[in-house]
Symmetry: C2
Subunit: 624 residues, 2 copies
Amino acid sequence: MSEVFGYMGKIAFVDLTREKVVVKDLPKEWIYKFIGGEGFGAKILWDLLPPKVSAFSPLNPIIFTTGPLTATMVPASGRTSIVFKSPLTGTIGASNVGGFFAPNLKKAGFDVLVVTGKAKKPVYLWVHDGVVEIRSADHVWGLDVEETTKELLKETHEKASVACIGPAGENLVLFASIMVDGGRAAGRGGGGAVMGSKNLKAVVAYGTKEVPVKDPEMLRKYALKAIEEIKAEPFTSQLLAKYGTPAFTKAINDVGILPSYNWQRTTFDKIAEIDHEAYHRKLRVKPWPCYNCPVVCGRYTEIPEGKYAGEKGHGPEYEAVAAFGTKLGISDLYAIAMANYLSNRLGLDVISTGQVIATAMEWYERGIIDSSVTDGIELRFGNADAVIEMIKKIAYREGFGNLLAEGSYRAALKIGRGAINYVMHVKGMEMAADGVRASKGEVVTHATSERGADHLRPYASAVDAFGYIEPELGITEKKDPLKDTDKAWVKPFKEYSMLFNMLGMCYFTGILLAVKPSTLAGLFTAVTGINTDKETLLKSAERVINLERAFNAREGFTRKDDTLPERFLKEPAPDGRGKGQIVNLNVILDEYYEAMGWDKETGLPTVRKLKELDLEDVALELLK
Amino acid sequence: MSEVFGYMGKIAFVDLTREKVVVKDLPKEWIYKFIGGEGFGAKILWDLLPPKVSAFSPLNPIIFTTGPLTATMVPASGRTSIVFKSPLTGTIGASNVGGFFAPNLKKAGFDVLVVTGKAKKPVYLWVHDGVVEIRSADHVWGLDVEETTKELLKETHEKASVACIGPAGENLVLFASIMVDGGRAAGRGGGGAVMGSKNLKAVVAYGTKEVPVKDPEMLRKYALKAIEEIKAEPFTSQLLAKYGTPAFTKAINDVGILPSYNWQRTTFDKIAEIDHEAYHRKLRVKPWPCYNCPVVCGRYTEIPEGKYAGEKGHGPEYEAVAAFGTKLGISDLYAIAMANYLSNRLGLDVISTGQVIATAMEWYERGIIDSSVTDGIELRFGNADAVIEMIKKIAYREGFGNLLAEGSYRAALKIGRGAINYVMHVKGMEMAADGVRASKGEVVTHATSERGADHLRPYASAVDAFGYIEPELGITEKKDPLKDTDKAWVKPFKEYSMLFNMLGMCYFTGILLAVKPSTLAGLFTAVTGINTDKETLLKSAERVINLERAFNAREGFTRKDDTLPERFLKEPAPDGRGKGQIVNLNVILDEYYEAMGWDKETGLPTVRKLKELDLEDVALELLK
């Protein structure tokens, strides 16, 4: 594909069943319609996967994508979007991860790597210099993420990037993660289990090709503009840079959207023991940078004392502090860090893992289960040793862990006795640690996200709970976090958030609206030479969001699935800024569907909307 | 478990993830409630598998069962019932197969073998002398069924029985079979794919223990009575014995329930070229007996001439003659036999495979797909070479075969353009070759079967199309095959058919009502020493049927899923004895649900019915 800038112009298709690699040209029209990254992933998933096919079918592709900004001088342009059908939710699975994988994949010559089929025995892929090699992974099957990463770097290239699974993925734990560079997680939705079902232990990429840039001078100008915008946003440039994501812990607690004791409360009583200052006081902390990032929010820590003295690893990030801390009533940062290291090594999604255990603890405390079910483990809030033990049991599918490995929703169906009332999930995926009664914008995010319980598409709390505005998105005034109506602003904010995943840039430069939409347009134009503006880009993002919703519609999802745990619909928040609040879900959904131009009865894109977005083929397939 | 006759008293649980075998005592109360065989399988599946869990989850058990009559002197007591959640339908999967596997499993010391988990690398199980060994199957992975069987017999025991998968199971083809003794198929529902998902290539069993019999003299008496009853039924003792199941071909054609050209017609224009006489004239035919069977309906054949000269293998059975013959408009018996051998070797369910191709041929003929979709293959009715090619493509998931490997229902959803109208399925499973517009009893069988499109639970045509009666079941007069009402007789007949699968006896001794229910009761009492009567046994069968329906209910199935392909509901039969008939589904379902004591609105067992069957625990779980 000549004369295209910003892309390598190649997609590698790997069929593990037949041990065959085919490289095809990137269809040029996709650039205009889907931009790249998750956009390409959603398009390929839609095209390749027949409806109602098991996520563990060899037909389910696992798609590693890069965007047009990936591996350029654009700040924070190292994100990988990984797309697949999720075994946890049955929806589209779309995980996004930092580190150095996407830049290496792209510099190796590929915009996208699509893996289908099922290998006879464990394999890994070695991607470099325009080729994809299928290699035996017999010797690393069973190894944890750190061991696997180390070994595969040794036998490929020391500067390569490894995306691999741990024992959890091998054992098809439904919330197994794909781990990049030993510690960055594509955590959500069970991509690791999809890799496991294919006997695909890892993809290793290393590349040195240059990404063709149309207008390097213009790119320099806009990259500097983006860096300036990041600097101008104090939370991002100062708190995140100084403290990493643990900077969020206290901030989120203060606005009443921090879950504790499995969401029974919305603030944490021992916040001072785990906030960013405690974190940096107690743990030995080093920054850990992703590709070309001026913020450097990643942290690598070591436990200096106690029973886990000397243990170290990536994180814990904010979500891990909540998942293994506040949600479980644990304020011992060493135990939290250890649980996080362990989950990462075993290849478990930290968010689901902590949330599954939080739910099980509430079952235990309420007498719905007892120690005869939990293999003798006292699953009480605050019992950190029990958490460490349960993490291992889940990854290796031992005893009670074998049930929890199917996620909290399915486990509750098996247990019965009202267990489902304490499952904090949407579409079968466990909730992260953000929202929702004191941020009605997050109600939209969580209930309607195309990938299940999602706090990031968009991080609506930024606007309503934290008071950010962005005139370029039409958000010109502060929003009331407790108000049920007035939810149209979520639409442009969601499109903006999706745009980062399509361009290959980190949403953390936009989570608090630092980098402006017009800057993104400038970056895209500079790299690709395609003249665009923010409206056109946001329209592309809207197209991808609608395509993802159409995928879910084809699988049978409708408005009835856009819902929240009973707790939020019926129990008034007991504390925090949202005290006394419940969620009036239907009002909020109506507002949002109206803004999206979707049918209110079904919650699905209308034919008119799909046509407006040049998705006639999608409309036709949905109608058939 | 002492003092129990007819059972070995042991269940082996194998966890492939942990490479662990645990042997437990058979709970004595199960004997009274569930008898054995498929009854034990359904009970274990209900207990072990949480709802909504993927059929490819390590949690999904694959359960090999024997019954109390297995491996005794009872005629035709060699059947194995294999139970699992079906990846094809999402319902309970229950396959039943002849040969020598169950007798060997039982004589090795086990009533039941339950396999869960997922092995790291290919393994097989070697079951003998009260132990289960987990052995590497690296060297046989990729081999076909005949090669695998031969190799595993060599390295275990020449008199052992092998239940294995072929490449289709390894590649997770949703209708992959489990093949016993190299040529008998546990075909329906994709048990082979479940084994493949566990990296379980085979189970090999060999045993020499004696089954404890309470009253050998009484058993002798009833075994002789059963043999007399079989002899007294002329079709079974003469036609089946002389011609094997191909004896059915012409008989079924004559009553207008033989599908041809993908069910566009209900008789076959070239019947004389493929009926039992042609079969025995053209092929070299040898009988192939199952364990202790006086009928010996199995056939082993060889193609004497033409392009497949010298090829040989098990079958083709009647269903294969229809699946690869009449449904495809093929009257070349050599091609039919070759397609059958190939499917068996690759480990494909012959019924689904032929039906999938029949559907694809109708798509092709109607212009819904063309050769650009079929990898250039001319999928026209009558094109035998295309069939051979497609079978390989399906098993190895190549090209169009990769889509068809997901079954005709999912393939149609992907193809669209009205393709679904020609998919002959129930609950996602392809129909066999029996029924339904000229046998309204078969409407019940097919639409309501707990395992998808099923022609055998019961083989209702025996009563309404062929005019058999059985006063012991309350069927005292011939039934009108075209009548929509009067369907209560299907209930006792279905219970009777299920009883064979629970006792471990071949339903072919009851398909035409040869062996009387009271004889089954006598056999059971003689073997176990438990005094019983036919009413009690039929009640146990009703219990198992209700438990299976409860399993499906827990997975989300209701009356809406008890349906038939559109063709039968709207197109009057064009020929045969049912000419002009359509299926008035709702009338028929109402009649049947009424007889079963099920709720007519939902099609599910009522709490009252479950309580009546001592299934309070099941009722409670469904209500939760």
